[in-house]
Symmetry: C2
Subunit: 248 residues, 2 copies
Protein backbone atom coordinates (compact mmCIF):
# COMPACT_ATOMS: atom_id res chain seq x y z
CA UNK A 1 0.00 0.00 0.00
CA UNK A 2 1.32 3.47 -0.82
CA UNK A 3 2.38 5.35 2.28
CA UNK A 4 -0.84 6.57 3.83
CA UNK A 5 -1.47 10.21 4.64
CA UNK A 6 -2.34 10.18 8.33
CA UNK A 7 -4.42 12.20 10.75
CA UNK A 8 -4.99 12.28 14.48
CA UNK A 9 -8.03 13.77 16.17
CA UNK A 10 -7.66 15.43 19.56
CA UNK A 11 -11.04 15.64 21.28
CA UNK A 12 -10.83 18.31 23.96
CA UNK A 13 -13.45 18.33 26.68
CA UNK A 14 -14.17 17.18 30.22
CA UNK A 15 -17.75 16.42 29.19
CA UNK A 16 -16.63 13.61 26.89
CA UNK A 17 -14.35 12.09 29.55
CA UNK A 18 -17.02 12.27 32.25
CA UNK A 19 -19.42 10.33 30.06
CA UNK A 20 -21.93 13.18 30.03
CA UNK A 21 -21.58 13.75 26.29
CA UNK A 22 -21.20 11.03 23.68
CA UNK A 23 -18.58 11.99 21.10
CA UNK A 24 -19.69 11.59 17.50
CA UNK A 25 -17.05 13.80 15.89
CA UNK A 26 -14.49 11.01 15.50
CA UNK A 27 -16.69 8.78 13.35
CA UNK A 28 -17.92 11.73 11.28
CA UNK A 29 -14.52 13.23 10.63
CA UNK A 30 -12.92 9.84 9.91
CA UNK A 31 -15.33 9.32 7.01
CA UNK A 32 -14.96 12.88 5.69
CA UNK A 33 -11.16 12.66 5.77
CA UNK A 34 -11.20 9.30 4.06
CA UNK A 35 -12.84 10.94 1.05
CA UNK A 36 -9.85 13.31 0.93
CA UNK A 37 -7.50 10.31 1.06
CA UNK A 38 -6.47 10.94 4.67
CA UNK A 39 -6.61 8.14 7.24
CA UNK A 40 -7.54 8.70 10.83
CA UNK A 41 -4.95 6.58 12.62
CA UNK A 42 -5.33 7.78 16.19
CA UNK A 43 -7.64 9.79 18.39
CA UNK A 44 -7.18 11.15 21.87
CA UNK A 45 -9.72 12.44 24.31
CA UNK A 46 -8.20 14.89 26.77
CA UNK A 47 -9.49 17.26 29.45
CA UNK A 48 -9.61 21.07 29.42
CA UNK A 49 -6.18 21.27 31.04
CA UNK A 50 -3.58 23.60 29.54
CA UNK A 51 -0.49 21.44 29.94
CA UNK A 52 -2.24 18.34 28.65
CA UNK A 53 -3.53 20.15 25.56
CA UNK A 54 -0.17 21.78 24.78
CA UNK A 55 1.79 18.54 25.24
CA UNK A 56 -0.67 16.46 23.25
CA UNK A 57 -0.74 18.92 20.34
CA UNK A 58 3.04 19.10 20.26
CA UNK A 59 3.42 15.34 20.36
CA UNK A 60 0.84 14.71 17.67
CA UNK A 61 1.70 17.44 15.18
CA UNK A 62 5.12 15.91 14.58
CA UNK A 63 3.82 12.33 14.57
CA UNK A 64 0.95 12.64 12.07
CA UNK A 65 0.50 14.46 8.76
CA UNK A 66 -2.56 16.29 10.04
CA UNK A 67 -3.94 16.99 13.48
CA UNK A 68 -7.53 18.03 14.09
CA UNK A 69 -8.89 19.31 17.36
CA UNK A 70 -12.51 19.66 18.42
CA UNK A 71 -13.81 21.62 21.38
CA UNK A 72 -12.82 24.49 23.60
CA UNK A 73 -13.10 27.42 21.19
CA UNK A 74 -16.16 29.13 22.69
CA UNK A 75 -16.23 32.31 24.80
CA UNK A 76 -16.21 30.95 28.37
CA UNK A 77 -13.51 30.36 30.98
CA UNK A 78 -13.18 26.68 30.09
CA UNK A 79 -12.51 27.45 26.40
CA UNK A 80 -8.74 27.46 26.30
CA UNK A 81 -7.90 25.70 23.04
CA UNK A 82 -6.75 28.79 21.11
CA UNK A 83 -4.50 29.82 24.01
CA UNK A 84 -3.03 26.32 24.14
CA UNK A 85 -2.39 26.16 20.40
CA UNK A 86 -0.56 29.50 20.58
CA UNK A 87 1.52 28.16 23.48
CA UNK A 88 2.26 24.91 21.63
CA UNK A 89 3.55 26.87 18.63
CA UNK A 90 5.27 29.46 20.84
CA UNK A 91 3.35 32.26 19.18
CA UNK A 92 0.84 34.94 20.22
CA UNK A 93 -2.92 35.30 19.98
CA UNK A 94 -3.99 38.33 17.93
CA UNK A 95 -7.40 39.86 17.32
CA UNK A 96 -8.23 38.73 13.79
CA UNK A 97 -9.89 41.68 11.98
CA UNK A 98 -12.23 39.48 9.89
CA UNK A 99 -13.49 37.63 12.97
CA UNK A 100 -13.86 40.87 14.93
CA UNK A 101 -16.00 42.25 12.12
CA UNK A 102 -18.10 39.08 11.99
CA UNK A 103 -18.71 39.08 15.74
CA UNK A 104 -19.56 42.80 15.82
CA UNK A 105 -22.25 42.31 13.17
CA UNK A 106 -24.50 40.92 15.89
CA UNK A 107 -25.12 43.63 18.48
CA UNK A 108 -24.66 43.01 22.19
CA UNK A 109 -24.11 44.95 25.43
CA UNK A 110 -20.43 45.93 25.90
CA UNK A 111 -19.70 43.25 28.50
CA UNK A 112 -21.17 40.48 26.36
CA UNK A 113 -19.42 41.83 23.26
CA UNK A 114 -16.08 41.81 25.06
CA UNK A 115 -16.60 38.17 25.99
CA UNK A 116 -17.65 37.20 22.48
CA UNK A 117 -14.56 38.93 21.12
CA UNK A 118 -12.46 36.34 22.93
CA UNK A 119 -13.38 34.13 19.99
CA UNK A 120 -11.60 36.54 17.62
CA UNK A 121 -8.25 35.74 19.26
CA UNK A 122 -6.47 33.66 16.63
CA UNK A 123 -2.81 32.54 16.80
CA UNK A 124 -0.49 34.68 14.64
CA UNK A 125 0.03 33.11 11.23
CA UNK A 126 -3.09 30.96 11.34
CA UNK A 127 -5.62 30.88 8.51
CA UNK A 128 -9.31 30.70 9.26
CA UNK A 129 -11.60 27.70 8.83
CA UNK A 130 -14.91 29.06 7.69
CA UNK A 131 -17.99 28.44 9.85
CA UNK A 132 -21.07 28.22 7.61
CA UNK A 133 -23.40 28.22 10.63
CA UNK A 134 -22.62 31.93 11.00
CA UNK A 135 -20.65 31.69 14.24
CA UNK A 136 -16.96 32.40 14.72
CA UNK A 137 -14.58 30.36 12.55
CA UNK A 138 -12.00 27.75 13.43
CA UNK A 139 -8.41 28.09 12.32
CA UNK A 140 -5.49 26.21 10.86
CA UNK A 141 -1.91 26.68 12.02
CA UNK A 142 0.62 24.64 10.09
CA UNK A 143 -0.79 21.07 10.05
CA UNK A 144 -3.15 21.62 13.00
CA UNK A 145 -6.84 22.29 12.31
CA UNK A 146 -8.82 23.70 15.22
CA UNK A 147 -12.58 23.26 15.09
CA UNK A 148 -15.67 23.55 17.25
CA UNK A 149 -16.85 20.72 19.49
CA UNK A 150 -20.60 21.01 18.85
CA UNK A 151 -21.17 18.37 16.13
CA UNK A 152 -23.39 20.59 13.95
CA UNK A 153 -20.76 23.33 13.90
CA UNK A 154 -17.82 20.94 13.52
CA UNK A 155 -19.51 19.28 10.56
CA UNK A 156 -20.15 22.63 8.89
CA UNK A 157 -16.51 23.61 9.36
CA UNK A 158 -15.22 20.24 8.11
CA UNK A 159 -17.39 20.63 5.02
CA UNK A 160 -15.33 23.66 3.97
CA UNK A 161 -12.05 21.70 3.89
CA UNK A 162 -11.08 20.37 0.48
CA UNK A 163 -8.29 18.59 -1.38
CA UNK A 164 -6.46 21.87 -2.01
CA UNK A 165 -6.25 22.58 1.68
CA UNK A 166 -5.73 18.97 2.78
CA UNK A 167 -3.79 17.09 0.11
CA UNK A 168 -4.24 13.36 0.69
CA UNK A 169 -3.57 10.05 -0.99
CA UNK A 170 -5.99 7.50 -2.37
CA UNK A 171 -9.22 7.19 -0.45
CA UNK A 172 -9.75 3.91 1.35
CA UNK A 173 -12.67 1.90 0.01
CA UNK A 174 -14.40 -0.91 1.82
CA UNK A 175 -16.44 -4.03 1.21
CA UNK A 176 -18.38 -5.78 3.90
CA UNK A 177 -20.32 -8.97 4.21
CA UNK A 178 -21.94 -10.78 7.12
CA UNK A 179 -22.95 -14.29 8.07
CA UNK A 180 -24.45 -16.14 11.00
CA UNK A 181 -21.16 -17.91 11.67
CA UNK A 182 -19.05 -17.56 14.79
CA UNK A 183 -15.66 -15.87 14.62
CA UNK A 184 -14.13 -19.09 15.90
CA UNK A 185 -15.49 -20.99 12.91
CA UNK A 186 -14.19 -18.61 10.23
CA UNK A 187 -10.91 -17.63 11.88
CA UNK A 188 -8.55 -20.07 10.14
CA UNK A 189 -9.94 -19.54 6.61
CA UNK A 190 -10.02 -15.83 7.22
CA UNK A 191 -6.39 -15.73 8.21
CA UNK A 192 -5.47 -17.48 4.94
CA UNK A 193 -7.40 -14.90 2.90
CA UNK A 194 -5.90 -12.04 4.93
CA UNK A 195 -2.40 -13.35 4.27
CA UNK A 196 -3.08 -13.56 0.53
CA UNK A 197 -3.92 -9.84 0.54
CA UNK A 198 -1.47 -8.10 2.84
CA UNK A 199 -2.36 -4.69 1.34
CA UNK A 200 -5.94 -4.98 2.50
CA UNK A 201 -7.08 -4.64 6.08
CA UNK A 202 -9.50 -7.48 6.84
CA UNK A 203 -11.47 -6.95 10.01
CA UNK A 204 -13.74 -9.43 11.74
CA UNK A 205 -16.46 -8.14 14.07
CA UNK A 206 -18.76 -10.38 16.08
CA UNK A 207 -22.38 -9.31 16.39
CA UNK A 208 -25.23 -10.42 18.64
CA UNK A 209 -28.69 -9.84 17.20
CA UNK A 210 -32.15 -11.00 18.13
CA UNK A 211 -32.07 -13.64 15.41
CA UNK A 212 -28.66 -15.01 16.37
CA UNK A 213 -25.01 -14.22 16.55
CA UNK A 214 -22.55 -13.98 13.72
CA UNK A 215 -19.65 -12.10 12.24
CA UNK A 216 -19.27 -9.07 10.02
CA UNK A 217 -16.26 -9.12 7.76
CA UNK A 218 -14.90 -5.82 6.51
CA UNK A 219 -12.19 -5.31 3.90
CA UNK A 220 -10.55 -1.92 3.57
CA UNK A 221 -8.01 -0.90 0.99
CA UNK A 222 -7.34 1.47 -1.89
CA UNK A 223 -7.49 -1.02 -4.80
CA UNK A 224 -11.11 -1.62 -5.78
CA UNK A 225 -10.33 -4.61 -8.01
CA UNK A 226 -8.45 -6.34 -5.22
CA UNK A 227 -11.28 -5.60 -2.79
CA UNK A 228 -13.80 -7.20 -5.15
CA UNK A 229 -11.60 -10.26 -5.57
CA UNK A 230 -11.24 -10.63 -1.83
CA UNK A 231 -14.95 -10.10 -1.21
CA UNK A 232 -15.62 -12.98 -3.59
CA UNK A 233 -13.25 -15.25 -1.64
CA UNK A 234 -14.93 -14.36 1.65
CA UNK A 235 -18.38 -14.89 0.15
CA UNK A 236 -17.29 -18.33 -1.11
CA UNK A 237 -15.84 -19.17 2.30
CA UNK A 238 -19.19 -18.38 3.94
CA UNK A 239 -21.03 -20.59 1.44
CA UNK A 240 -18.49 -23.39 1.98
CA UNK A 241 -19.35 -23.25 5.68
CA UNK A 242 -22.99 -23.83 4.74
CA UNK A 243 -24.15 -20.34 5.68
CA UNK A 244 -25.92 -17.61 3.75
CA UNK A 245 -23.80 -14.47 3.17
CA UNK A 246 -25.69 -11.20 3.51
CA UNK A 247 -24.90 -7.60 2.71
CA UNK A 248 -23.80 -5.88 5.88
CA UNK B 1 -9.46 18.53 45.76
CA UNK B 2 -7.79 15.39 47.06
CA UNK B 3 -5.47 13.86 44.52
CA UNK B 4 -7.73 12.07 42.09
CA UNK B 5 -7.35 8.40 41.25
CA UNK B 6 -6.99 8.39 37.48
CA UNK B 7 -7.74 6.07 34.59
CA UNK B 8 -7.06 6.00 30.88
CA UNK B 9 -9.07 3.99 28.36
CA UNK B 10 -7.30 2.56 25.33
CA UNK B 11 -9.85 1.73 22.65
CA UNK B 12 -8.28 -0.75 20.25
CA UNK B 13 -9.85 -1.20 16.83
CA UNK B 14 -9.60 -0.11 13.22
CA UNK B 15 -13.40 -0.08 13.01
CA UNK B 16 -13.63 2.81 15.47
CA UNK B 17 -10.97 4.82 13.63
CA UNK B 18 -12.56 4.21 10.23
CA UNK B 19 -15.86 5.60 11.47
CA UNK B 20 -17.64 2.29 10.80
CA UNK B 21 -18.40 1.69 14.46
CA UNK B 22 -19.41 4.34 16.98
CA UNK B 23 -17.62 3.82 20.29
CA UNK B 24 -19.88 3.89 23.32
CA UNK B 25 -17.52 2.19 25.76
CA UNK B 26 -15.80 5.41 26.85
CA UNK B 27 -18.97 7.10 28.11
CA UNK B 28 -20.19 3.90 29.78
CA UNK B 29 -16.95 3.08 31.53
CA UNK B 30 -16.37 6.69 32.60
CA UNK B 31 -19.62 6.63 34.55
CA UNK B 32 -19.00 3.19 36.06
CA UNK B 33 -15.50 4.13 37.19
CA UNK B 34 -16.73 7.35 38.67
CA UNK B 35 -18.89 5.34 41.06
CA UNK B 36 -15.69 3.61 42.20
CA UNK B 37 -14.05 7.01 42.72
CA UNK B 38 -11.83 6.71 39.66
CA UNK B 39 -11.70 9.49 37.10
CA UNK B 40 -11.29 8.88 33.42
CA UNK B 41 -8.76 11.54 32.48
CA UNK B 42 -7.72 10.41 29.01
CA UNK B 43 -8.77 8.05 26.26
CA UNK B 44 -6.95 6.91 23.16
CA UNK B 45 -8.29 5.23 20.08
CA UNK B 46 -5.62 3.22 18.31
CA UNK B 47 -5.49 0.73 15.43
CA UNK B 48 -4.87 -3.05 15.55
CA UNK B 49 -1.14 -2.52 15.13
CA UNK B 50 1.25 -4.34 17.45
CA UNK B 51 3.83 -1.61 17.97
CA UNK B 52 1.18 1.05 18.54
CA UNK B 53 -0.64 -1.07 21.12
CA UNK B 54 2.54 -2.03 22.99
CA UNK B 55 3.87 1.54 23.05
CA UNK B 56 0.54 3.03 24.10
CA UNK B 57 0.03 0.51 26.91
CA UNK B 58 3.55 1.08 28.19
CA UNK B 59 3.20 4.84 28.09
CA UNK B 60 -0.17 4.87 29.80
CA UNK B 61 0.37 2.29 32.53
CA UNK B 62 3.04 4.44 34.13
CA UNK B 63 1.14 7.69 33.60
CA UNK B 64 -2.26 6.74 35.08
CA UNK B 65 -3.35 4.76 38.13
CA UNK B 66 -5.44 2.40 36.01
CA UNK B 67 -5.50 1.56 32.33
CA UNK B 68 -8.43 -0.14 30.64
CA UNK B 69 -8.39 -1.55 27.14
CA UNK B 70 -11.34 -2.57 25.00
CA UNK B 71 -11.20 -4.63 21.83
CA UNK B 72 -9.04 -7.22 20.14
CA UNK B 73 -9.50 -10.20 22.46
CA UNK B 74 -11.51 -12.44 20.08
CA UNK B 75 -10.27 -15.51 18.20
CA UNK B 76 -9.39 -14.06 14.77
CA UNK B 77 -6.16 -12.88 13.13
CA UNK B 78 -6.86 -9.22 13.97
CA UNK B 79 -7.27 -9.96 17.70
CA UNK B 80 -3.79 -9.23 19.01
CA UNK B 81 -4.42 -7.45 22.29
CA UNK B 82 -3.35 -10.32 24.60
CA UNK B 83 -0.13 -10.80 22.60
CA UNK B 84 0.58 -7.07 22.83
CA UNK B 85 -0.05 -6.89 26.58
CA UNK B 86 2.37 -9.80 27.10
CA UNK B 87 4.95 -7.98 24.97
CA UNK B 88 4.40 -4.73 26.84
CA UNK B 89 5.04 -6.47 30.16
CA UNK B 90 7.84 -8.61 28.70
CA UNK B 91 6.09 -11.79 29.75
CA UNK B 92 4.62 -14.89 28.06
CA UNK B 93 1.13 -15.98 27.11
CA UNK B 94 0.07 -19.20 28.81
CA UNK B 95 -2.97 -21.40 28.36
CA UNK B 96 -5.09 -20.57 31.40
CA UNK B 97 -6.65 -23.83 32.68
CA UNK B 98 -9.92 -22.20 33.84
CA UNK B 99 -10.45 -20.55 30.47
CA UNK B 100 -9.53 -23.73 28.60
CA UNK B 101 -12.14 -25.57 30.60
CA UNK B 102 -14.76 -22.88 29.97
CA UNK B 103 -14.12 -22.90 26.22
CA UNK B 104 -14.15 -26.70 26.00
CA UNK B 105 -17.58 -26.85 27.63
CA UNK B 106 -19.07 -25.83 24.27
CA UNK B 107 -18.28 -28.53 21.73
CA UNK B 108 -16.80 -27.71 18.34
CA UNK B 109 -14.86 -29.41 15.52
CA UNK B 110 -11.11 -29.63 16.28
CA UNK B 111 -10.14 -26.77 13.95
CA UNK B 112 -12.74 -24.43 15.43
CA UNK B 113 -11.83 -25.48 18.97
CA UNK B 114 -8.17 -24.77 18.31
CA UNK B 115 -9.07 -21.28 17.14
CA UNK B 116 -11.34 -20.63 20.11
CA UNK B 117 -8.59 -21.77 22.45
CA UNK B 118 -6.57 -18.76 21.30
CA UNK B 119 -8.81 -16.88 23.72
CA UNK B 120 -7.42 -18.95 26.62
CA UNK B 121 -3.97 -17.46 26.10
CA UNK B 122 -3.55 -15.17 29.11
CA UNK B 123 -0.34 -13.35 30.07
CA UNK B 124 1.54 -15.06 32.92
CA UNK B 125 0.63 -13.51 36.26
CA UNK B 126 -2.64 -12.02 35.09
CA UNK B 127 -5.90 -12.52 36.97
CA UNK B 128 -9.13 -13.06 35.08
CA UNK B 129 -11.97 -10.57 34.65
CA UNK B 130 -15.16 -12.59 34.72
CA UNK B 131 -17.44 -12.51 31.68
CA UNK B 132 -21.05 -12.98 32.83
CA UNK B 133 -22.24 -13.35 29.20
CA UNK B 134 -20.66 -16.80 29.23
CA UNK B 135 -17.86 -16.09 26.76
CA UNK B 136 -14.14 -16.05 27.53
CA UNK B 137 -13.03 -13.65 30.27
CA UNK B 138 -10.88 -10.55 30.16
CA UNK B 139 -7.84 -10.23 32.38
CA UNK B 140 -5.95 -7.86 34.62
CA UNK B 141 -2.19 -7.59 34.68
CA UNK B 142 -0.84 -5.15 37.25
CA UNK B 143 -2.87 -1.94 36.73
CA UNK B 144 -4.00 -2.84 33.19
CA UNK B 145 -7.53 -4.24 32.68
CA UNK B 146 -8.15 -5.92 29.34
CA UNK B 147 -11.77 -6.21 28.26
CA UNK B 148 -13.89 -7.04 25.22
CA UNK B 149 -14.82 -4.42 22.63
CA UNK B 150 -18.44 -5.47 22.07
CA UNK B 151 -20.35 -3.10 24.38
CA UNK B 152 -22.68 -5.76 25.80
CA UNK B 153 -19.72 -7.94 26.78
CA UNK B 154 -17.59 -5.03 28.00
CA UNK B 155 -20.43 -3.82 30.21
CA UNK B 156 -20.90 -7.29 31.70
CA UNK B 157 -17.17 -7.51 32.45
CA UNK B 158 -17.03 -4.00 33.92
CA UNK B 159 -19.96 -4.90 36.17
CA UNK B 160 -17.78 -7.48 37.94
CA UNK B 161 -15.16 -4.93 38.99
CA UNK B 162 -15.59 -3.56 42.48
CA UNK B 163 -13.92 -1.32 45.08
CA UNK B 164 -11.80 -4.20 46.35
CA UNK B 165 -10.30 -4.73 42.97
CA UNK B 166 -10.16 -1.08 41.97
CA UNK B 167 -9.58 1.08 45.03
CA UNK B 168 -10.55 4.63 44.20
CA UNK B 169 -11.07 7.94 45.91
CA UNK B 170 -14.25 9.92 46.38
CA UNK B 171 -16.71 9.63 43.50
CA UNK B 172 -17.26 12.80 41.51
CA UNK B 173 -20.79 14.16 41.80
CA UNK B 174 -22.37 16.62 39.44
CA UNK B 175 -25.06 19.25 39.28
CA UNK B 176 -26.35 20.69 36.06
CA UNK B 177 -28.69 23.44 35.06
CA UNK B 178 -29.63 24.98 31.73
CA UNK B 179 -30.94 28.27 30.39
CA UNK B 180 -31.78 29.89 27.09
CA UNK B 181 -28.88 32.29 27.46
CA UNK B 182 -25.84 32.46 25.19
CA UNK B 183 -22.44 31.47 26.47
CA UNK B 184 -21.25 34.98 25.64
CA UNK B 185 -23.82 36.46 27.98
CA UNK B 186 -23.00 34.31 31.00
CA UNK B 187 -19.23 34.03 30.51
CA UNK B 188 -18.08 36.83 32.84
CA UNK B 189 -20.38 35.91 35.75
CA UNK B 190 -19.53 32.28 35.25
CA UNK B 191 -15.82 32.92 35.47
CA UNK B 192 -16.35 34.71 38.81
CA UNK B 193 -18.28 31.73 40.20
CA UNK B 194 -15.69 29.30 38.85
CA UNK B 195 -12.91 31.24 40.55
CA UNK B 196 -14.76 31.18 43.87
CA UNK B 197 -14.81 27.37 43.68
CA UNK B 198 -11.45 26.22 42.34
CA UNK B 199 -12.09 22.67 43.60
CA UNK B 200 -15.12 22.27 41.35
CA UNK B 201 -14.95 21.85 37.60
CA UNK B 202 -17.52 24.19 36.04
CA UNK B 203 -18.24 23.40 32.41
CA UNK B 204 -20.28 25.44 30.00
CA UNK B 205 -21.82 23.73 26.97
CA UNK B 206 -23.76 25.54 24.27
CA UNK B 207 -26.81 23.79 22.84
CA UNK B 208 -28.92 24.39 19.77
CA UNK B 209 -32.47 23.09 20.01
CA UNK B 210 -35.61 23.59 18.00
CA UNK B 211 -36.94 26.08 20.51
CA UNK B 212 -33.75 28.13 20.66
CA UNK B 213 -30.15 28.09 21.71
CA UNK B 214 -28.74 28.23 25.18
CA UNK B 215 -26.15 26.92 27.56
CA UNK B 216 -25.89 23.94 29.88
CA UNK B 217 -23.82 24.50 32.99
CA UNK B 218 -22.32 21.50 34.70
CA UNK B 219 -20.53 21.44 38.04
CA UNK B 220 -18.45 18.42 38.97
CA UNK B 221 -16.70 17.82 42.27
CA UNK B 222 -16.52 15.56 45.28
CA UNK B 223 -18.06 17.86 47.91
CA UNK B 224 -21.85 17.71 47.66
CA UNK B 225 -22.42 20.72 49.94
CA UNK B 226 -20.14 22.87 47.84
CA UNK B 227 -21.86 21.68 44.67
CA UNK B 228 -25.25 22.67 46.04
CA UNK B 229 -23.94 26.08 47.05
CA UNK B 230 -22.49 26.64 43.61
CA UNK B 231 -25.64 25.42 41.88
CA UNK B 232 -27.58 28.03 43.83
CA UNK B 233 -25.22 30.78 42.64
CA UNK B 234 -25.55 29.69 39.03
CA UNK B 235 -29.33 29.48 39.35
CA UNK B 236 -29.41 33.02 40.77
CA UNK B 237 -27.15 34.25 37.97
CA UNK B 238 -29.57 32.87 35.39
CA UNK B 239 -32.52 34.60 37.10
CA UNK B 240 -30.56 37.85 37.30
CA UNK B 241 -30.15 37.69 33.52
CA UNK B 242 -33.94 37.49 33.26
CA UNK B 243 -34.01 33.88 32.10
CA UNK B 244 -35.72 30.79 33.44
CA UNK B 245 -33.34 28.11 34.77
CA UNK B 246 -34.31 24.55 33.95
CA UNK B 247 -33.13 21.15 35.06
CA UNK B 248 -30.77 19.82 32.46
Amino acid sequence: MAKAVTACLIIIGNEILSGRTQDTNLAYLAKELNELGVRMVEARVIPDVEKTIVDTVNECRFKFDYVFTTGGIGPTHDDITADCIALAFDTELEMHPDVVELIKRREAPPEVMETRLRMARIPRGATLIENPTGGPPGFQLDNVFVMAGVPMVMQAMAGTLDKERIPGGDPVRSRSIGAYLSEGKVAVSLRVIAEEHPEVDLGSYPFYRQDGYGTSLVMRGTDEAELDEMLEKVRQMIIDFGAEPFTD
